[in-house]
């Protein structure tokens, strides 16, 4: 973009020009102020969750993250205790399932949209995939609970639990309730598909055409061009896209709350109810029983924010590095 900052010299005779000559500085400061508001919003998220979790951090320190007991209410058997491991484990496992399902699919969609799709279909297909990202998560949860859960039970969970589950403990049943890590992961996979595929498509389209032409001139097939010359070139950006998808899966709340079953017990099987950090916060913070309970939930939010912040930082760097083009060449 050409430099548009240069302001033409103002002729002294123009009264209007004289009156407005400080306008530019003022306007710059005004827009800068609102741009800085955005930075302050991010800072606010960090500060508020950090201060709000003071009690939990003082009581548990880092051991909060791997404490295995989450008992907000004192009972005869269990004392009150707040350990985040059940929630963190559920978050990681459901996101892992989502990633295993969505990463190859999403990358394949990105490749199709960028390299193979007929030009006429590219726009409408891209729009459809991006529409998946626009659907509110509560609708995914609704569809998951009311429609997908039964289907998943009959066609995936039960067959697997009845065959492989006999030998592999983490695939075992009983699958009666159709709430658990596996179904949550599957719905999360659908939700993060558009993130992965849109970014893959964008970084692949930034690959210069000589890459493709050089490979074609060597007699490569179309797939060999893609796999040998285009994808490796954009590898960092694709990894970045997958990480952004992971960030979305980690923080997804409503679909997880509705489908994971909200149980803070640690079960071995992926077909049994569990919980995620976001689901735990959503279901317990509105009716928390004590200050330390509230504070522990806020500490979870702080951890979640920290993780997504770091993921975003790395992913944006990777995507930016790829999309900006080859080193030394200004795009």
């Amino acid at each position: 973009m050409a430099d548009v900052k240069a302001v033409p010299r103002i002729t002294a005779s123009s009264r209007w020009a004289r009156r407005t000559r400080h306008g530019d500085v003022f306007f710059w400061l005004l827009t800068l102020f609102f741009a800085l508001v955005i930075i302050s919003l991010v800072v606010m998220v960090g500060v508020v969750t950090y201060n709000g979790s003071a009690e939990a951090r003082a009581a548990y320190g880092w051991t909060f993250l791997w404490g295995e007991e989450w008992n907000p209410v004192e009972t005869d058997l269990y004392p009150v205790s707040f350990g985040a491991w059940p929630a963190i484990r559920g978050t990681l496992l459901s996101s892992l399932i989502a990633l295993i399902l969505a990463a190859p699919t999403g990358v394949a969609i990105g490749i199709f949209l960028s390299e193979l799709c007929p030009l006429r279909l590219r726009q409408p297909l891209g729009f459809l995939v991006e529409l998946l990202a626009a659907i509110p998560s509560v609708i995914y949860g609704l569809w998951g609970v009311a429609v997908f859960a039964n289907w998943f039970n009959d066609w995936i969970a039960n067959p697997i639990a009845n065959t492989a589950g006999q030998f592999v403990p983490w695939l075992a049943g009983p699958v009666a309730v159709s709430r658990g890590l596996a179904i949550t992961g599957t719905i999360l996979a659908i939700m993060i598909l558009p993130t992965v595929s849109a970014i893959t498509r964008d970084v692949l389209q930034a690959v210069p055409n000589h890459q493709r032409e050089a490979m074609l001139s060597l007699g490569a097939t179309r797939w060999e061009v893609i796999w040998g010359a285009v994808v490796p070139y954009a590898r960092a950006g694709i990894v970045g896209g997958i990480m952004l998808g992971l960030g979305r899966a980690l923080g997804e709340t409503m679909a997880a709350t509705m489908l994971i079953g909200n149980s803070t017990r640690i079960e071995e099987s992926i077909f049994l109810p569990a919980t995620t950090a976001a689901a735990l916060i959503a279901s317990e913070l509105p009716n928390s029983v004590s200050l330390i309970h509230e504070s522990s939930l806020i500490a979870l939010a702080l951890a979640l924010f920290g993780i997504t912040l770091i993921l975003n930082l790395i992913a944006r760097y990777l995507v930016w590095q790829t999309a900006r083009g080859p080193a030394g060449e200004k795009v």
Partner: protein, 307 residues
């Protein structure tokens, strides 16, 4: 690999080529299938739940089974306590009012912040802040919405000791501002530089040319950005659950708990009454229409601007 070995393995390579290209097509189809399924389910099941009461009434508890809701008399031949026979009553007017009030209030605060920040990003592209501000936008839009809810809860609900509509609006600001800022930036960058230069050649200072020439040129795009933010805010559940809590009555008081459509979807689908599940699908229908409508509109206008 020499040319000859290549020639020899060509049938195999050709098969691999076709198989893997086929895989990408299948992957794309896999993504389209759930999209179509979700949309058709919501439109068909949700569409069936819509009626006049749905838009004009607030929550009314389901009638005990076996009783006619209109007359209050027992119906003959119907078993009591049969949940599937419970009659649907009431509607989601309170949710519609709540969603509109909370989201529009949030939009009123987000618009100036987002648009002016977007102008800064697009019109002053070489300041040292830009990359960082853009990154902050990405962090905000990538932050889990539940975290934003927690911020609203800790900052306002905890201090004021009450859930309130205004707390929900403040939480939504965090989510709307980055959307508006980034779309404004993108759309302003599409305005050709010749437009700016023409304004300056007429002697306009930069702020004047930005406000009277560049921004009006891109106005359609900025409005679509605002609509996109509105659709996003209206569909958010998690932050609202922690800030406005939900409510069963029609309430216009932003300082008290309010209802919102996504919260009603969430609460009604957990209900054991199929009649209330129907309401959940109905609210999902309204949300879906909003999202689809806004996205189509955005699609059409951006296509026109780019052309």
């Amino acid at each position: 690999m020499s040319l000859e070995t290549n020639m020899l393995t060509y049938p195999r390579r050709s098969r691999v080529d076709r198989a893997l290209r086929g895989c990408t097509i299948i992957a794309t189809a896999i993504a389209i299938v759930p999209l179509v399924l979700i949309i058709t389910y919501v439109l068909i099941v949700g569409g069936a739940a819509l009626n006049w009461d749905f838009f004009t009434q607030t929550y009314r508890p389901p009638v005990p089974a076996g009783i006619d809701p209109r007359t209050g008399l027992p119906i003959e031949g119907m078993e009591e306590n049969d949940l599937s026979q419970v009659q649907a009553r009431g509607g989601v007017l309170h949710g519609i009012v709540g969603t509109l009030m909370v989201t529009i209030t949030a939009l009123l605060f987000s618009l100036p912040i987002g648009i002016l920040a977007g102008i800064f990003l697009a019109e002053y592209p070489d300041t040292p802040f830009n990359t960082f501000i853009r990154f902050c936008c990405d962090v905000l839009s990538g932050a889990p919405s539940i975290v934003i809810g927690v911020v609203g809860f800790t900052m306002i609900v905890r201090q004021t000791q009450t859930y309130s509509g205004i707390a929900g609006s403040i939480a939504l600001i965090f989510l709307m501002v980055p959307t508006i800022a980034r779309t404004t930036e993108e759309i302003l960058k599409l305005v050709p530089n010749a437009t700016r230069e023409a304004a300056m050649a007429m002697g306009a200072p930069m702020w004047y040319s930005t406000l009277t020439v560049v921004v009006p040129t891109a106005l359609t795009g900025i409005v679509t950005g605002a609509l996109l933010a509105f659709a996003r805010g209206a569909g958010e559940t998690a932050p609202l659950l922690l800030t406005i809590q939900g409510n069963s009555n029609l309430s216009f008081n932003m300082l008290a708990p309010m209802a919102a459509l996504p919260i009603l979807t969430y609460k009604y689908i957990e209900s054991p009454f199929p009649a209330e599940n129907q309401l959940a699908w109905g609210t999902a229908f309204v949300l879906m229409m909003l999202v689809l409508g806004v996205n189509l509109l955005v699609r059409i206008t951006t296509a026109r601007i780019k052309r």
